[in-house]
Amino acid sequence: MSTFYFIAFLSIFFSILVITAKNPVHSILYLILTFATFTVHYILMNAQFVAIVNFIVYMGAILVLFLYTLMLINLNKDSEPQKSNIIKIIGFIAGGCFLVAVVAALKAYQTSQLVVLQNPNLGLVKNLGKILFNEYLLPFEVSSILLLSAMVGAVLLATKEPKTT
């Protein structure tokens, strides 16, 4: 039980560090740590398929993509121009208002039951595969078309020559 609260504290701590780090490389590394704590959350809920996919896709593929993009972009002039303080304060107030609204709605919904895993093989690959390929076969195929079009679009955008004016 206390494992959850420790990992939740680490998640919030690292995700605050993601948006406050000055250097974008540090920001990406903190994002990797955040996703590692999310993987631990999934393992604690015995959602093994989601944990493995989160580990491979997010920590492996997407963050490597971020790091490569940062390598292509020359950021050695490290001082990004900060927004003015009034904009920052307004941003914090807006995000805080969202959080307060959700927490107030949560308080209004009094009864909080425990998260109990009734079926121990709920999140295993076998069970999820049966559901994915029986009920959700059409969305699965459509998502393959989405990935193909995203790949073609990314290659088309990134290889375009800079305009010669």
Partner: protein, 109 residues
């Protein structure tokens, strides 16, 4: 496995919702506050991940595996979005030599 199942049984659902909404609002604040386009993208990833965690928690709570299938689709969508978005950022950097999003305010007109 038995000890793992015992270890999650004492956590109320509200605590999962609270954790996910805190991380989601951190992502919202990151989008609003930062000017670096890559950090804004990372904040969007943070928001998508908090939604994934909440969907998985609800799926375990209800005993219904559909939520975890949706997490799978959201991950596929996030991969496509990141690929296209980072390609756009690289192209913006080539054309303007900056990834400051205030350079893009000409998109308003």
């Amino acid at each position: 496995m038995k000890t793992l199942n015992d270890s999650i049984q004492a956590i109320p659902l509200n605590h999962y919702i609270l954790l996910c909404s805190i991380i989601f609002s951190i992502g919202v604040i990151g989008v609003l506050v930062r000017r670096n386009a890559i950090v804004i993208f990372m904040s969007i990833e943070l928001m998508l991940n908090s939604v994934n965690l909440l969907l998985t928690a609800f799926s375990v709570y209800r005993g219904d595996a559909t939520g975890q299938v949706f997490v799978f689709f959201i991950m596929a969508l996030a991969a496509a979005e990141v690929a296209v978005g980072l390609a756009i950022i690289v192209m913006i950097y080539r054309n303007t030599n900056s990834i400051d999003i205030n350079v893009l305010n000409r998109l308003k007109w």
